[in-house]
Structure formats: C-alpha cells, structure tokens
Amino acid sequence: MVLGNYKQVIAARSTDAEILRGSQDGGIVTQLFAYALDAGIIDGAIVAGPSDEPFKPEPMVATTREELLASRGTRYSISPNMSLIKEVTRSYGLDKVGVVGTPCQIQALRKGQLYPVGLRDVPDKIALAIGIFCMENFPYQSIIQLVEDHGATALENVSKLDIGKGKFWIYTERGATVQIPLKVTHKYEQPGCHVCLDYVSNLADISTGSVGTPDGWSTVFVRSANGDDIWAKAIAAGAFETKPIDSVKPGIELVTKLATEKITKNQQYIEDRKTKFTVGKELRNPYI
C-alpha cells in the first residue's frame, strides 16, 4: 500500500520532442496537460511557473501550450500551487481545472474537494489532478546554499537540478556537472516534510516521477477512473510512448523500496513527536 491505489503502472515518455527538450524526465505532466488542453478536458492548469529568480517557482495558471512549456522542469523549492485553487475559478473564469502538485498539494486538493472550507464552487471544477513523486522539498534559501556554496556554482548558470542515484546533481548551461552527496542536503530540508507519509502522490488522478525508469522516461501510476479515462485517450491520441514497467530497470521494486523508506522514517518521526520533544506533552499530530 505504500504506492497507493492504482489501476496500472507503466513507463512512459512524451512523443513530443519540443516538450522533451526542457522536461525533467519523460515530460509526462507537460504532455498530459497539453493534450488535455487540446482535447478540451481542461481549460487551464495550475502549474509551477517561472519567476524572476532562477529556480524559484511561482504558481501560475497556464491556459496555453507556451505557458505549459515555460513551466517544464523540477524546481526543488516550495511552490504554493494551492494558493490559486480558488482564484482559478474566479477572475480566471475556468470551469475545468487541471492541477499539478506534490503529494501534500494533492492531499490539500482532495481535502478541499471533500471539505470545502471557504472553497465555494471549487470541488466540482477540478478536472485533472496530476501528482508528482516527492521525497522532500527545500526552501529557496536552501537551494541557494546548496548550489552556490556546496556546489560552488552560480544559480543563474544552472540549466537543470536533479536528485537521483543518491546525489544532488547540478548541470550548468556550459556543460559542467556537480554532484553533492544527499547526506549534505538533509539539514536544508523543509521540516514539514518530515511528517509526510506519501511518496508517489497517492491521491492524484495520475501520478508520475523519475524513480523506477531510465533517464528520459517516467514512471506513471494511473489511479482514478477519471485518470484512466484521460490516460487512455492520451495514448489513443499518440501523446505517449510506453513500455511495460517490468521491462525497464530498476523498475517498480525501487519505487516500492524508496516509498517504504520514506514512510517508515517519517512514521517514526510522527511517533517521536508524542514523546521526544517535550516533557509530559505531545506535539500535535495532524493524522489523528
């Protein structure tokens, strides 16, 4: 159950060379939204768009392919996508909203749909929720520290950041590669990530991430009936190239292993909050 409920899991990548050029992995999120926009499944999507500062994401409502392309790539920093969840149905005037988010953001979305506190007319306007795998996140200041200090690289020269194979990777425009051991990054993590029990966006319609598939490909979980329907249409439209997950390395075993590690570690932290940090009192547990 560490991977949540799903109907199918596959290795996939976009068939669109332009999307793949700037995408983090298989271009799944960008391609799915671009397809859904074309097909009228969504009118627009809340994505992590670019901002004035390099690798600092800013939530954005994308209603065109150009805007979707501009938001490609992982920014390992906080992007409060849910801050637009109501506005998108107001001054943006959308009726069918796409949302991409980390597991916690998809949780917020589903909670908002079931318990819409101050979210009038939001629950019925969510047309497609795409979740991304997430081990942990960093405040923007942490990214500056990691790249500029530990990586000795100017952030504005960076073309891509990646966490994989036990390393934090920095790729620059001019072709240099820097790797930082993950051990170094731990103290820069956002503390709130340490109580998170979701690795592969269990509550999304479709979730995707890099772990389990080779570079340039993504692991895709198709979860809900809605997700299944949209995925089938996208495949039929030729939007994706797919492979059975069993046929790729390292495959679903690694996803399961990492998910189990994350959940076990954070479950322990939640337990510790009962006793370890105070005398005779507990720190609050949002899960009870």
Partner: protein, 455 residues
C-alpha cells in the same frame, strides 16, 4: 376602543423584527410600529482604529444577501475620505458586481413574496416548494437567475457572498478574457429568463391588486385599494450604482440627513390586548404581554429633510424615471422592473472592460481625517457609508442602511391596512433587518450633525 396586536417574529424576510400594531374594532391599523429586534453588533463602533482596508471587509459581514452593497459603500467611503480615484476598469468590475448582486437579491425576494400571492384567476396561493406546475418551473427559473447573479458576482467580485476582489483603490484582479466571455455568456443566458420572469411576477402582482380579499389563517381578509400607501418622500442616489463625495455632482446630500433615536419616533410601552392563535403559523403574541417599541427597537431613525423617506427600487424609479405607482404592490412591481437594467448594465460593462488594463490606482493616499461618504444603491435602496480616514486608520465610520431608512416609513405605510396584511406591506420593502441594525448615532440637533460633517 383600540387594541394592540403584535406579530413577533415576522417571517419571510432577512433578520429578526416584529410588528406592534394598534388596531380599531375592525382590525384596521391605526398606528403601526415595525421594529428591529436584531441584537446590535456595533460594526461602526468597532471599526474605529482599524485599517481602512479591513473595515469594508468587516462591514460586508453585516449582511450575506447584500454584502456587495456594504463592501462597495464602505470601500468607496474610504476612497472618498482619502481622495482616491479608482481606474475606469475597476469601476466597470464593481458595476458588474453590483448588478449581479441585485439580480440574485431580487430573485431571492421573489421566493419570499410568492407565498402571499395567488395564481391568477384562482384562489390558490403559490407555494414555491411545490413540485407541481406551473410553480415548479417558476422556482427553477428563480434558481437559474440567482445562479447567474451569484456566478457573475463570484467571477468579478472574487466571491458571491462577501466579495474579496474590491479593495481601497480599485480591485485586486482584472478578469481574463475567458472570464469576461463567461460573464457575457451568463448575462446573455439570463436576459431572456429575466424578461420572462419579470413579466410573470408583474402579472402575479397585478392579479393581487385586482383581488378583494386574501386568505390569512383560514379567514378572508379584505385587501384595501390603498394597501401600503404613505406620504413620505423618496431618496435615491443613482438609478443603478451609487454616488460619492468625490463626484462632481453628488446624488446624496449629507446636510439633509439627521438621525434620531427610536425613543423619539416609536410608541411607548403598550400591553397586548388582541391575540389571534390562528395567525399562521403559531399565532400572535399572547394577550397581556408588554411591548415597548421605544426601548426595544435596535435601529436609529435616519431622517432626510426631517422626515423618514422610502428607499429602494421604487425610490430609484420615482427619482429617475417618474414612476408613480403607490402602495405595497407598486413597490413590488418597481422591483421586478429592475431586472432588465441589471443584465443590460452587466453586458455593457463587460463589453467595455479592457482585460489588460490596471484595476488599481497608482497612488493610494493614507488620508488626513477628512470626511468622505459613498452611497451605494443596494438591492433594497440607498446604502450610505460615511468615514474619516487618517494615516490609513478609520477614525469615524457610520452606516445608513436601506432598511434603516425604510423602518419608520414602512411603519407609516401600515396605517389603514387590516393587521393580518401588515406583513405583506412589510415584505414589499424587502427588509434586511440585520443590515438595518447598527449603532445608534445620538445626534438630535440637525445643525450639529451638519457642522460635524463639514469639519
């Protein structure tokens, strides 16, 4: 020998009020007091010292049916005090919000009115809850009109109930072209429905005017031809939107306004001597109960030229379109006649809107304590807010809300009606009692008030 009968609480309007009625032997009202018994929440007092951004958001919570009126009047009172001119496109958004709110409010009031009315040519009253035709499709049409009003309000105002988009200096957000298209689609969908509905409502109301009696609690009560007539004046600042002290030609005149206490206006202590347990549903107040309108009324009594005035749809039509029909039903008909204008104004404003234009003033002064006022033509009439802002903080805040103006006027209009029909007269004013209930301003001397305003 006159008797006193009390209907408490009154129903099918917003808020909590009652009718204390002195009637003659035939049950005809000789003097009627309609008064708010909603607890005073004291918005005006607690506004003092708060920021000018915050107060309109608090004032909005006075009422959930017409929060747009209070948000806009309060925001614009702040803007009038600090001398801030908002951009044209912000005004267009506010205009759309205003009209959308009026559509939903009038449609909601139809639901409250219809149970008093008869299906033309029959002796059966209209129950909006019935699944039977023709009432079912009327109820659905009302729901659609309200949906259109609320959705447009939500898009342009950020939220249908307590709009989040207005701010001191303009609006937070302009619309995207898609949102503007959605507003236009909704308005154009609502337009024919509104016309159909207006005609239906007017037919129903005209039928009531032709009737000789109405059934109340199993009895046939004669309907007088002059039901709800009064000789008070009318007050309206604008046919649709409003006016403020920033205007070159203002539509409202603070020097003509005074306010007195309920003590000076309402009846003294009375004992209830007439009781009717068959008054639907649950009867009237028990005989022997004491009522003291002077003490119990929770509103101030605002006067214009020293007299109570009527505000609302009819006041707007009288002031700007020479409407001349008197009485409770005349007022109801005027309300229906406002539907179309709301839709046309929304379409006009949406057409004129530039989606890429700024909607916030370049500079927002912080205020030097000058007085400013803004009148918003709320669904129920002229809603005037007055404010003094210094260094971004509110020093003085006062709200003169439509139903506050109508309370004493409507009380006058009760005279001559059978007491069983007084609620029909009251409902014609579309009362919003929680709107009306606010801090009492103890200014008894007219000159003193005028001086205070000119400071």
């Amino acid at each position: 020998m006159s008797k006193v009968v009390e209907i408490s609480p009154t129903t099918r309007h917003e808020g909590h009020s009652k009718l204390v009625l002195k009637v003659n032997d035939d049950g005809i009202v000789e003097r009627g007091d309609w008064l708010s018994i909603t607890p005073v929440r004291g918005i005006e007092k607690l506004a003092i010292g708060k920021t000018m951004e915050q107060v309109p958001k608090i004032a909005s919570r006075v009422c959930g049916i017409c929060p747009i009126a209070h948000t806009l009047a309060a925001t614009e009172a702040m803007e009038a005090s600090i001398g801030c001119e908002i951009p044209e496109d912000a005004y267009l958004l506010r205009m759309m919000l205003q009209c959308a709110n009026r559509i939903h409010s009038h449609a909601l009031h139809n639901i409250l009115t219809l149970p008093d009315m008869y299906l033309p040519g029959t002796d059966s009253k209209i129950n909006p809850f019935t699944p039977e035709e023709p009432v079912r499709s009327v109820a659905k049409r009302i729901q659609t009109l309200r949906m259109v009003g609320q959705t447009i309000g939500e898009i342009v105002g950020g939220e249908a109930i307590h709009p989040s988009n207005p701010r001191v200096g303009g609006m937070y957000k302009n619309l995207t072209p898609r949102a503007r298209a959605k507003v236009l689609d909704l308005a154009k969908m609502g337009l024919p429905l509104a016309r159909e509905h207006m005609e239906f409502m007017i037919a129903i109301l005209r039928n009531y005017q032709k009737r000789d009696w109405a059934e109340v609690g199993g009895k046939e009560i004669p309907i007088p031809k002059d039901l709800g007539y009064h000789n008070q004046g009318y007050m309206a600042a604008d046919p649709v939107y409003g006016s403020s002290s920033l205007d070159e030609i203002p539509g409202w005149f603070p020097e003509r306004w005074t306010e007195v206490r309920p003590w000076d206006w309402y009846m003294g202590e009375e004992e209830i001597t007439l009781e009717d347990p068959s008054y639907p549903v649950g009867g009237t107040t028990k005989a022997g109960t004491k009522a003291w309108p002077q003490m119990e009324a929770c509103t101030g009594v605002p006067l214009y030229d020293g007299q109570p005035v009527e505000v609302g749809p009819r006041a707007r039509l009288v002031q700007f379109k020479n409407y001349d029909e008197k009485g409770a039903i005349g007022l109801q008909i005027a309300r229906q006649m406002e539907y179309m204008d709301c839709f046309y104004k929304i379409i006009e404003a949406a057409d004129a809107l530039d989606c890429s234009a700024p909607v916030i003033a370049d500079e927002i002064p912080q205020g030097d304590g000058s007085i400013g006022w803004a009148a918003n033509e709320a669904p129920r009439g002229c809603d005037v807010h007055l404010a003094k802002v210094r260094n971004g903080k509110v020093e003085y805040f006062s709200m003169l809300v439509p139903t506050t103006w109508n309370f004493p006027t409507c009380s006058r209009a009760l005279v001559g009606a059978p007491w069983q029909l007084t609620e029909v007269i009251m409902r014609a004013y579309d009362p919003c009692v929680s709107c009306a209930t606010h801090m009492i301003v103890l200014d008894e001397d007219k000159r003193l008030v005028a001086e205070k305003l000119l400071e």
